[in-house]
């Protein structure tokens, strides 16, 4: 009883968990072992023609990606200029690391996956986890050499998001299969096909990561809220590798909020107070666009 409460409320039970995770690791390895053997056998047996095909395909993908990067160069430069005009701080690049998902089933009440990196690799609880398609979830339980990642669709997960088209911010909850937005006013402008990105509030997820696409919209029974159901971009039941990210630099998202407050064509009204970067914990509200 005491143990459960202490585990829930703070990190007192973490040493016990660490010690036991040493025992648990061999079991995870045993479960993973047939899968690894199968994969290496598959590589050994796959025909050369297949590999050539795959190689060609990957090269095409690379070419595509490089083209996109070239387009991005000009955008980055433009962005930089704009940001210098606003004397805002840079978005610092994120440190990432790749982890592989172990093939272990979890109790079906919670949607968790086990990844093969733990506190020994510098992970921390609440760390954002994504893959190439979009956000997956965050680190929930930490062991020495593995960690449990909770999915964004889990019923106990919530993530601050923003609708990419309108910039409206709200919180997205998991409902077991999809993501639902339940806290929008009935007048909110949201449509099917809108893309949801992370808003960076709460300092857990960096700003602007793709999360989900809105699938259906309805009005709640008592007509006070609009609710939307969204489908995550990442295939959450088919994960093989995930990216972990470490934000370096606390003021990642603060100054960006300026873009929603300014009026176009009134450049000299934008005088960012000198302490804008320090107030990055509540970014949107305390930025004054000096009207005096």
């Amino acid at each position: 009883m005491v143990m459960m409460v202490s585990d829930k409320n703070n990190q007192l039970a973490q040493p016990i968990r660490d010690a036991l995770s040493m025992v648990a690791l061999p079991l995870i390895k045993i479960i993973d072992w047939p899968q690894n053997v199968y994969q290496s056998a598959e590589i050994a047996l796959s025909r050369q023609a297949n590999l050539l095909d795959e190689n060609k395909q990957l090269k095409e993908q690379l070419l595509d990606a490089e083209l996109k990067v070239q387009q991005n160069f000009s955008l980055v430069a433009e962005n930089q200029r704009l940001r210098e005009m606003l004397s805002a701080s840079q978005i610092s690049p994120l440190t990432t690391s790749v982890a592989f998902v172990s093939n272990i089933t979890q109790a079906n009440k919670k949607q968790l996956v086990v990844i093969d990196q733990g506190s020994a690799d510098g992970l921390y609880i609440g760390q954002a986890v994504l893959n190439l398609a979009g956000v997956i979830g965050q680190v929930d339980v930490l062991g020495r050499h593995y960690a449990h990642v909770i999915m964004v669709t889990d019923t106990s997960h919530a993530i601050p998001i923003e609708v990419l088209r309108t910039g409206m911010r709200t919180i997205a909850y998991g409902n077991g299969a999809d993501i639902v937005l339940t806290e929008m006013p009935t007048s909110a402008d949201i449509r099917k096909g809108d893309v949801l990105v992370t808003s960076g509030f709460g300092n857990r997820f960096p700003r602007g990561l793709k999360l989900a696409e809105v699938e259906a919209i309805s009005v709640s029974a008592d007509r006070t809220f609009k609710t939307a159901v969204a489908q995550p971009f990442a295939m959450l039941d088919r994960l093989t590798e995930v990216f972990l990210i470490w934000p370096n630099g606390a003021a990642v998202e603060g100054p960006l909020a300026v873009f929603e407050n300014d009026q176009p064509g009134s450049e000299n009204q934008l005088q960012i107070p000198a302490d804008a970067n320090q107030g990055s914990n509540n970014p949107a509200n305390d930025l004054t666009t000096g009207n005096e």
Binding site: M1, M3, M4, D7, K8, A13, I16, R17, L20, S21, V23, A24, L27, I28, I30, I31, N103, I104, T105, Q106, A107, N108, K109, K110, L112, V114, D140, V141, G143, H148, T155, S156
Partner: protein, 161 residues
């Protein structure tokens, strides 16, 4: 001939196998029906040993299961200890009873185990129990006789070796 040691090793081995079975990647339908292997094994060993030492074993493996599952530390520990306690208390009586009566008792213990875990989940993160949580009881009812028979046979062969 070191019977108790052999038996103990067999107990740990069987419970570890149960943990592995729980963690194995099954398809989702199978997962819905999957019995709580560790609880079945702990019930069997408590019934067999009728001795409070099994409760410590149950607690240790419960914690291990918690760590593996990423659940609240002590959730499975507590439910397995409760199970082990209930079984141990009435083990001597139950070893005399008929097959069907024992099966019913096992189902009741497992049901109790499910209730405890659902309660802990509800307290810790407002989990709302579903009817499908009870499906493992069905398979447990099918598995239990075979499990008991198998374990009895293995124990006899260990004893005779």
């Amino acid at each position: 001939m070191n019977n108790p040691d052999n038996n103990k090793a067999f107990m740990h081995l069987s419970v570890l196998c149960a943990l592995l079975l729980t963690m194995m990647p099954w398809s989702e339908t199978v997962q819905l029906f999957q019995p709580h292997w560790a609880a079945l094994l702990i019930a069997y060993w408590s019934l067999y040993a009728a001795n409070s030492r099994v409760m410590y074993v149950a607690f240790a493996y419960g914690l291990l299961l918690d760590v593996l599952m990423g659940s609240l530390l002590g959730k499975h520990g507590m439910s397995l200890v409760a199970l082990s306690f209930l079984v141990t208390k009435s083990a001597k009586k139950l070893r005399m009873t008929s097959f069907w009566q024992l099966l019913m008792m096992v189902l009741i213990w497992l049901f109790n185990d499910i209730i405890i875990r659902a309660a802990i989940d509800w307290i810790s993160y407002r989990y709302t129990p579903k009817m499908t949580d009870l499906l493992p009881l069905l398979t447990a009812a099918l598995v239990w006789p075979w499990l008991k028979y198998l374990m009895d046979r293995v124990q006899i062969s260990i004893r005779n070796s």
